[in-house]
Symmetry: C2
Subunit: 473 residues, 2 copies
């Protein structure tokens, strides 16, 4: 372990640029002040002022700025800045806003944007367009790049083939460090930034990768074959992006070579794209578990309302089933109204315990803490014990509370028994539902929450009211 | 946009190593077969076989293997491999298993592990130890590294100071590419891999950064000051890791310089650490929203049960409040038992709608789709409209169902009115609760779910049973 490495030559006078420490606000995208100034300049139609304000902004920050503008301002902003706006800005926009901007720019301008972007970002833009719109844009892209883009678009959505960029540096293994550096210095058509060189054989199959830091620290005469990492994590172009994310996380990769069916190197996935994927996948799990759809924050209200209908329908069906169960016990409730007061408690405690378990299980599957090699019996068994331990504690507390509240000792016993039953079930169902879904090839997170809470509601009401009918009436 | 860049010299015979395309199973950590072989070898006490099996495995995969072993096997495995096990393997283990292994290795072996690791991984290991254990381990670490580690440990948990590694390459701005390459070739004590050079002034303040690819493609005479990126995203050492993750995501960074209070360069955060943070933060949001604790998957049952008690207590209090509300209407329920059948529907639809809204809002805050610059009135207003649209549809459906089911038209009206009321409330509360929490400086996700569903339960029962008391009794 080494300390900070610094070469310390004698200080020298020079006019090197200085850098200010960014304050907290600057770190978080466009500042409030800037946004207000842009709005004001837009209102006055002061075009040079708008351009001056955004001149030094990072494209990602300009994109944030565009998203935060009111719709009318946004249109005006795009109109004013359409000739200075950077391609990267467009690719940073969220989907709904991007659709608006793309519409406004028109196919010709969009083709220029697509041409300027790296293939991965260009593909991300293109894949969201309607087929005919996509076709029109592609027609205006230079043929050489069009072919690469069309090829990338043939890979399935959310696959490595869509994620990869085609721009990469491939070098034959017998080259030396010196030859490689000379090549890099003379070659004009290199990717903007890259982190690894890929060593390929004569059939363009990857044979190894060399981190740039190794090239830099090795003598000119060293052959790349001596420097290269041969334990390559090859990514087939049709690999799912979730699996790609796993590789990057597991092996702390910065870039990974993408190969076609014949094993030839056709692209590279870089970590910045993977960061986006990891974010997306975690969010997807979250949305599925709580039964929210993967909504676009900037979509208009009626679209969002429609996106949420599906899960509300699921909830509706769930609660109708639960209501049907309750309706079987109307006489019992009429006899002891206290049951109506206490029954939501049994359902809610089971539901909450179950959702805890299911969330932990879904995440364990996602992060591969649970794999096909895991001992499933041990996992389910452990959750049963957890459920039983908590059930004992909480049923004892609530049994006493109920008995005291309604002056009815048997009511306390019934409540306690129903709670133990429901919470143990919650522990079992919370592990089994996602595990079975996963084994059957479904997404373990899909509807895990709503499906589980239906079972805990139904069982909670049924066991509580059923036991009450047997012992209290 | 350029196609794949390949230098294409004449093919040449050489004995460079070849690489096989990994099949799907190989891509996912240790294979089932390998696990079984290791278990078998352990059972037979065949030490050379165990060592041979894990020899070519990546440390992250060995860590997975250790996690998947049964507890007794695990102990045996660590005992057998303790002299060949890599430091990196230890740092890849999940917390509970790592604690076990660390316990078994003892402070002396642990000190060797810590010495071998990069500072960021070493700090991660050390920060989980008990203070006296930490002290004992640090005593056995060479003094030079001990000072760096102790310094890192002074920064708050989850801050950039804990996340950074101290190993970095800092170069004066007036150096040329040639001087830099010569320095890198001669210097022995460099970090293993690095992606950017940091240019510092004579007070060791960062003045710019140079991606290695730029160094490689520039002529030897070029000064670093001409190549460097001066738009640095400086990370103060006490910055929260969530903010660091935001910077990496927003600006697609691979590494970022960490500075102390005086603005001096003291470390570097690299993207592999940030990937882990992004994963953790997304998981934390998920756990908080569903009211599950951030549990360690490998912890024993009684510990997990205890970790979940907190949220079950919250649920208990919530449902007790809801039960108290219901108990005020016992006479009404006795009069119309159908109310007991239907009341969970009002509560559940409101709760589900609210959790959808709150999840979207918490994620929008986390991904900074909502910022202090956002128009909050517009956001809340939009959710109110969404809530109202869905409420109209579902209250109409359920009102008709209830009226038909119990042959009681007024009951249908009451149900529909209560549902509209509760779902509009859910839309408003689902946005306002996290926004207010965020403004007050709290984590918007904390208890968002349980807190919200208490309000939708209470309001659902109160509005439904209250309206019923007014109009049906």
């Amino acid at each position: 372990m080494a300390g900070p490495e610094t070469a310390k030559p004698a200080p020298e006078e020079d006019d090197r640029p200085t850098v200010e420490t960014a304050d907290e606000e600057e770190l978080y995208g466009p500042s409030e002040e800037l946004m207000e100034n842009v709005s004001a300049a837009l209102a006055e139609g002061d075009i040079p002022q708008v351009e001056a304000l955004i001149e030094d902004l990072h494209p990602a920050d300009v994109a944030d700025l565009i998203e935060h503008l009111e719709p009318e301002e946004r249109q005006l902003f795009v109109q004013i800045t359409r000739h200075v706006i950077e391609a990267e800005t467009i690719s940073h926009l969220d989907e709904t806003v991007r659709d608006e901007v793309v519409e406004q720019l028109g196919p010709q301008a969009l083709a220029e944007v697509v041409t300027e972007l790296d293939t991965d970002d260009a593909v991300e833009l293109l894949e969201d367009l309607e087929p005919e719109q996509q076709e029109r844009v592609l027609q205006s892209v230079p043929v050489e790049e069009r072919v690469l883009l069309q090829q990338s678009l043939t890979f399935p959505e959310d696959s490595a083939g869509r994620l990869m960029q085609r721009e990469l540096v491939a070098i034959p293994a017998h080259w030396t460090v010196g030859e490689t550096i000379d090549f890099l210095r003379s070659e004009k058509e290199l990717p903007d930034d890259f982190y690894d060189l890929f060593v390929v054989d004569e059939t363009h199959k990857p044979a190894g990768s060399v981190p740039l830091s190794r090239v830099l620290r090795s003598p000119r005469a060293t052959r790349l074959s001596e420097l290269m990492e041969t334990e390559l994590r090859l990514v087939p172009a049709d690999m799912d992006q979730e699996a790609v994310a796993y590789l990057f996380r597991q092996y702390a990769l910065v870039s990974a070579p993408v190969v076609d069916e014949a094993g030839r190197l056709i692209g590279v996935v870089t970590v910045d794209d993977v960061v986006r994927v990891i974010d997306e996948e975690a969010e997807e799990d979250l949305m599925k578990i709580v039964g929210a759809s993967d909504t676009d924050f900037h979509a208009p209200a009626h679209i969002i309302a429609w996106q949420r209908v599906r899960w509300l329908v699921v909830t509706l069906i769930n609660t109708m089933i639960a209501a049907t169960v309750i309706s079987q016990f109307q006489e019992t409730i009429q006899h002891t109204v206290a049951l109506a007061v206490l029954m939501p408690i049994v359902a809610a405690m089971g539901g909450n315990a179950g959702v805890q378990v299911i969330t932990v299980t879904v995440r364990a599957l996602a992060t591969r803490d649970i794999t096909p090699q895991s001992n499933l019996l041990r996992i389910v068994g452990k959750e049963l014990i957890v459920g039983f331990l908590n059930a004992l504690v909480f049923s004892a507390i609530l049994g006493v509370v109920a008995a005291w509240w309604f002056g009815h000792v048997e009511l306390g016993y019934v409540l306690a028994a129903a709670m133990i039953f429901n919470m143990v079930w919650a522990g079992m169902a919370g592990t089994l539902i996602p595990l079975v879904m996963d084994r059957l090839g479904f997404d373990p997170a899909i509807g895990a929450g709503p499906f589980l809470t239906t079972t805990t509601d139904v069982l909670g009401f049924f066991s509580f009211l059923g036991l009450a009918t047997l012992f209290l009436v």
